[in-house]
Structure formats: C-alpha cells, structure tokens
Symmetry: C2
Subunit: 325 residues, 2 copies
C-alpha cells in the first residue's frame, strides 16, 4: 500500500478527520497538556510484537503520562517508522479502536520506512477537565502521605517472561516452558505478561487528583522507569525527601513466587523494574483517593534523603531504575 493509499484508508475511518494537511488545526481552546513518548523495537518491545498490541501499548503508555497531569486525552499525533513488511492496517485498526475508547482523536502524524526496526512516537494533547487543575511533580510537601496507584514489579516479571519467549496470542499467553511449572506459577506468569503488554493508564485517578481543592493537591507522576528513580525525580522537583515503608509496597498476588521462578529479587524488581504505569502521588495525611487499588507507601520528609524502612530499620533507597541513555 502506498502512503497516500494508507492515508485515504485512515481518513475514511476518522470522524472528524483532521489529518491530511501539513499541520492539524486543533479546534479546542487551551490550556493543553502535551506529552511525547517513543516505543522502539528491541528496546521497549520485542521485534516480533503483534502490531495491534504495539498500537494499544503505545497509546496506553502515553496516556499514563497524561494521567499523571490530571488531563483528559483529546488529540494524538503519530510518527511511525517501520520496515517494509509492517502490517499498517492491523496496527491502525487497533490504534483507532483504542483511541476511541479513550475519547482521543488521531489528528496527524508522519509515516516513514525505517531501515532498522519499528520506532513509534506518539504525541498526545490533553485538555484540563472542568473544575480540574493540572498536576506536576513539584507539589509534594513535607508531611504529605506518599501513594502508589497500584502494584509495582509485575510488569518487569512479565517483561522477563517475554524475553524468555512468552507471547500473547489473541487472548492466550503462551509460556516457553510451562510444562515444568506449577499451574499456579504459570497463571501468575501469564498475568504478568498481560500486565506488561496491556498497561492500564490511571486517567480516572489522575483526574480525581486534579479536582481536589488546592490545599489537598500534591505532586503526581507515573512510574515508568522504576519507583526508586521516579520517586527521586518527584522529590527533586519538589525539593523534599521521602521515606518508604517496604512492607507497605503493593505487590500483585503471588509476586514473590513469580520472582522466585525467575530467580529475581522481588524488591529489586519492585524498585527498579519499571514500566508499572501506575501513578505515584502525594496527598495531605487523612485524604484517601476515591479509587480502588491505591496504597499509601510512606511519607514526604523535609530532609532530602530517600529512605526505605524495613522492619523498623531505615536504609538509603537503592538507586535502581531505568536510564534511557
């Protein structure tokens, strides 16, 4: 299919259709929240990943950034560089379906052939919800409680299974050597693969945080590179420190067993595994988020240290996590 042919195919599926010009003109007024994120074959996903899964994951990962600002998604701009045999229609069918379910309009982009593997870069533009404020990483105050929007570490378990050959085919996860595993461990591994491939952006939580009264609002970001490195970024932006209670960290059911099967340290995956795509946020003590699954994991401190408290003993938070360079 030629580029113009693909664009005609796409335009027939977009209503309203803003694509096809050199630049898209956005009818909505500002202010806007804008985020950009790339997914690269061999770095962020295995080269043989189903284009439909890639499409949904690309959108979800970027929506997680918008969630962290409390924005409502509005427009998407996609730059997609692929090798010759890439199934564009399969990718775009899944992408447009996913966009629709998040009220997001594909409004432009760029298509190119790439000599190496696929690189997909998505720009998302979000609007401020009624009665909402945009959140950032700089709002954490000493005495705030520190929260996670969901469990951590499980995505890293899934990624390790995928590196060993696990694949999501349709609705079923196939594991490479499940005959040697107990059914329970296999079920946990399959759930982790799904968690890694199909992250759920916490848009509702982000918008709830942005709609709190100003004196209840804290900092927010999404955990993409690992709790330890991302908490460090939040604390640096806010000029504060934090103390995490290890026993409060939220883990998926049977997370320890899943790590044991992989020979991995649960705490290392939880703090440094990354790609959890849950929100990390602060709230004044006594305020509880109105979503299920969120967990208070510690508190913000005036001292700029980051500490991990385990069985009553504090130690510096290990510097684990993903550096992109």
């Amino acid at each position: 299919m030629s580029e113009d042919g693909l664009l005609r195919w796409l335009r027939a599926r977009l209503d309203p259709c803003l694509i096809g010009d050199d630049a898209a003109v956005l009818p909505a007024g500002g202010p806007f929240a804008v985020t950009v994120d790339s997914q690269i074959a061999g770095i962020h996903f295995v080269a043989d990943l189903d284009p439909a899964l890639l499409a949904r994951r690309l959108l979800a990962v970027n929506l997680s950034d918008l969630a962290a600002t409390g924005a409502e998604p509005a427009y998407a701009f996609l730059a997609l560089s692929t090798q010759r045999d890439f199934d564009h229609r399969r990718f775009f069918r899944a992408f447009l379906d996913a966009c629709r379910s998040f009220n997001t309009l594909l409004a432009g982009g760029d298509l190119a052939r790439s000599p190496a593997g696929t690189v997909a870069t998505l720009t998302l533009i979000g609007t401020r919800p009624p009665d909402g404020a945009f959140l950032d990483r700089g709002g954490a105050r000493p005495g705030h409680a520190l929260w996670l929007g969901g469990t951590i570490g499980e995505s890293a378990v899934g990624q390790r299974w995928i590196a060993r050959g696990a694949r999501l085919l349709g609705r079923r996860v196939e594991l490479p050597d499940d005959r040697t595993m107990s059914p329970t461990v296999a079920a946990v591994a399959r759930r982790a693969v799904r968690r890694h491939l199909c992250p759920q952006p916490q848009l509702v939580l982000g918008q709830w945080l942005g709609q709190q009264p100003a004196d209840h609002r804290g900092a927010a970001m999404d955990v993409s590179d690992g709790l330890a490195i991302d908490l460090r970024r939040l604390c640096r932006a806010s000029g504060v420190g934090a103390e995490i209670r290890e026993e409060a960290l939220p883990f998926a059911d049977r997370f320890d067993e899943a790590c044991r099967e992989l020979g991995a340290d649960p705490l290392a995956l939880a703090l440094g595994g990354g790609e959890d795509y849950v929100l990390l946020f602060t709230l004044p003590e006594g305020i509880e988020p109105a979503v299920s699954g969120a967990r208070k994991i510690g508190r913000i401190t005036r001292s700029k240290q980051l500490t991990l408290r385990r069985e009553g003993v504090s130690q510096p938070l290990p510097a684990l996590g993903w550096d992109h360079l």
Copy 2:
C-alpha cells in the same frame, strides 16, 4: 551522561522551562496548528551527519510544515532515539539556538537509546498570528494561479552529492571528486549540498498568505516529497486539477549544468526530487505575494487532470515523487 544529567543540563538552558514533567502544560490559548515529522538515519540523512546539522535540519523541515499553515511557531517536543556514542550536547546546543532564532520553545520530549541508527521525531505547535487564518490544501479554486515559493530540484542535486560523499564541514562543503570538475560546477554542487542540508522554512510567506482577505486566500502546502506528488495531493484535497507551464518552473542558477554533471534529468529532479521545502500555493489571478523568489508556475483548472505544458503541448504530469512506505 545519564538521562537525568542531560535533562538538568537542558533545563539550565531553557527559560521559561516547561520540560521535566510527564506532560508540558502550554500556557497559551488555542487554536493551535500541530505538525509531526521524523528524520531517520539512512532514510532522510546520512548516518554520519553532524548532530548539529541534524538538529537544525529537523527543526527547519518541521517549521516548513507550520509555514504551510500560516502559523507562528511556538512550542517544540522532541523524541530523540540515538545510538550510544551520539553527541547529545552538540545536538541540543544547535537545536536550542535554532529554536531561539525562530521564537520556538522546546517544551518536552523523550530520550531513548536505539539499537539501530538515530530517529528524531519533532512535534511543533504553532499559534495563529494576529489577523491571520490557518491555511490548508483544500482552498484551491479553478482560475487561481499556482505558485511556488522558490526553486525546486536543487535539494535533490545536493542529496545526490551527499550520497557520493560530499560533506558540509563547518562552513565548507567538501566534494568527493572536485578535481575533475570545473570550478563553476563545483560551486553549484556546493550550493546544492547546502540547500539540501540547510532548508529555509518559508514562514514569512506562509503568514503573509494567511493574512490575506478571505476572498484572496487559496490553498497552501510545502513541497517535501516532490512537486508532482505534492501538487496531486493539493488538487485532490481541493477537488480541482492544475496545469503547469514547464518553462515557468523556477530553477537554481546553472541547475541544468548541475544535473548534467550527475547524469540526472533536470525535469525529473524538479518534479520528483523532493525535499525542496518551498511553499506551493494558490492565489486569485492578479494577486502577487509580497516576498521575493516566488514564481507563478501555472493555474488551477476545473478538470481534475494534472498537466504539464511544454512548448505549447500539454501532457499528463508524470507521477514522480517520494512515497514514504
């Protein structure tokens, strides 16, 4: 340098600084024009291109898309995937300098390591100038004159010289075998290499077009994939055809000699070479753009044919040009 280290280095060079959060919040109101474009090593530029040249060219190519809408550039979002030895500081110094000279603020982005070559994707957001309107490809009307904002084909000549080994080193273009060339032809080749590597986005022309009274306004786009394919897109979007006069096509000085040296057909490079980054636009007959270098090349017709008129004889416009897939 770590990602966080590079971001700190960048933040110190941005004022105001909008980067560092999951999404940037744009303070200005809408409407906005948004464009996205990728530059990929091995496809859009040679792998050993100086990162400073890549940075300036990436911005210029994207600004050309904004120019086609009549927008004023405002914000840039950069997704940059590079191999391990990439000189980020050299890239960003040149990028930030270029942004400043176009009143554009780097407001966010994403950095990643890429296993293959460099992929740089830039999202630009532009605002509507006072008393201006946004332009698109759909405004061409039968009877409109068809214009080009500058010469075509020269960038393709430069690209061929670069493929043969020509390089821009500092301010000097080095040619691979200039001892066998006449000084005149060498000078023309050097100019073409500069034209290819350092395109000049026609923002002033685009804004002038957008500021015309509504009944003087026509269609506009930038010529990036070649005049023939891009004119076809403009005519399809407007539901019209066009007739080009071959003798009216604007060429750089000694363009014929430059093509002869390469064994290339001047008309084929002019119609299908691409990467000219000049505006293609329409205006009612009798209206002349207030910029130097623009040239009337033909007219818009009610018949949807695209024709090329040469010495009084019309023929179908050849289907030349760059398809990205």
